[in-house]
Amino acid sequence: MTAEAASRSPVTALFEWIGRHGLNVFEDVGKFFYILHTTIYWTFRRPFDAREWVRQMVRVGVDSIPIVGLTAMFTGMVMALQTYRGFARFHAEGFVASVVSLSLTRELAPVLASLMIAGRIGSSLAAELGTMRVTEQIDALYAMATEPIQYLVVPRVGATTLMLPPLVAIANGLGIWGGYVIAVGLMGANPMMYWDRTFQYLDLNDVFSGLIKAAVFGLILSVTGCAKGFFTTGGAEGVGRATTSAVVMGSVVILVSDFFLTKILF
């Protein structure tokens, strides 16, 4: 510790710490909204790189089906297992199917799928763009009169936002199926009744609000990943930092915005 730092009072040091971290938060928020607004601006300008959009949609959507499907299926299975045991205490096993389907479509599938995609795609967007930044590939794009936001960020953010709802729809189906397998196969529930109860209290609105949530989470996690990558500084270490913070920040923002979205949508 330097003499200057040692002589500083703890109160001053505390305020400095708060100030520094406060400024960092403002900086992050500023970068997020800069990337968000420039992305929206460039999305509706020519040229449209359809091939790149499809490539990114495959990367975000198709390639994520196994991990999202597996997560949803086991969540459905564990939900059925837990609720069946719990509900059996007051003879309400018949409602297991409704609880599984409602909690999956309204909450668990969108949030868990988005968190998995934040880990899988948010991190890779930050690492990819961050590496391009530190190796001057982004400068090279500017130098070739190509707008990097339009060329790199727009298809990635667009593909993630578009692909999250179908992924969540798949997650809904597999999760419900997982619950069915456990309840019927392991716990001995009546298959016909289980199937009936799955849809009895399920509204289309429940499914749609889950899908809308998914699209918003997709937008948040991709913009966060791109913003972290786009403004990376400090070589390989900086890329590592950007990747970690893309996942952490993306996940936290998803969880916080989940509360507010639920408040608005339901």
Binding site: P47, T135, E136, D139, A140, Y142, A143, A145, Y151
Partner: protein
Amino acid sequence: MANTRGNDRRVERDGLGPAIAVIDVWKSFGDREVLRGINLEVSRGESLVIVGQSGAGKSVLLKHLIGLIPPDKGHIIIDGEDLTNSDSARCLEIRRKFGMSFQEGALFDSMDVFGNIAFPLRHPATMSEDKIAARVHQCLALVHLEGTETKATSELSGGMRRRVGFARAIAHQPQILLFDEPNTGLDPITSGVIDSVIVEMREHLDVTMVTITHDMKSAFRIADRIAMLRNGRIIAEASPEAFRSLADPYIQKFLAGEPVEEEVA
């Protein structure tokens, strides 16, 4: 400031102003002043080499020329048009006059060599794929890398990466070529090859060139005029022959590769 202009290799086109004019450009990053009142002109067809120590502000100056970094104060005039006062669409148009080769090549690693060189021809897509292929072959021939079209950029050596970077920079037939430290990190033989490729490109293409380097051997090989940047200021401009005989003790030490006690002006 030493200023010995003029050189027999320098080509001037009558009636036209300089290709690039830098007028009193200042730039700071935080408290650090990197450029402190740069004034510089580059004539059409001229090859200007800007030399200076690491951290002297060379790369920052080069990035100002193409509008990658905006100046805090001052003007960058390209072909008579003020880059600093242009809107983003006009900036993009002005930038198309440039081809830039980056320090480590800055090749897109998601593409092969062909994809990299074809990039400026495909964005915007104004040429047919056949014409693009022909142009890519032509550019690769110019940098002596025929037959490498399908190679991944990760398979290339340092020298080859630079040359593919050159080919990409010249693909869209720019009027001005910028080279950012083309020899850094290369062995003397490869470095010589890079210099001769630059000289050849100069002979075959009708371009203005600005190169930044700290390698004086390379500077003498490719320059019509050398400018010395120190502490954010141009301290000398001269033809290569005149540059060698400049009396400034700092320049003499720089040429001899001797340590110098860095003064902070």
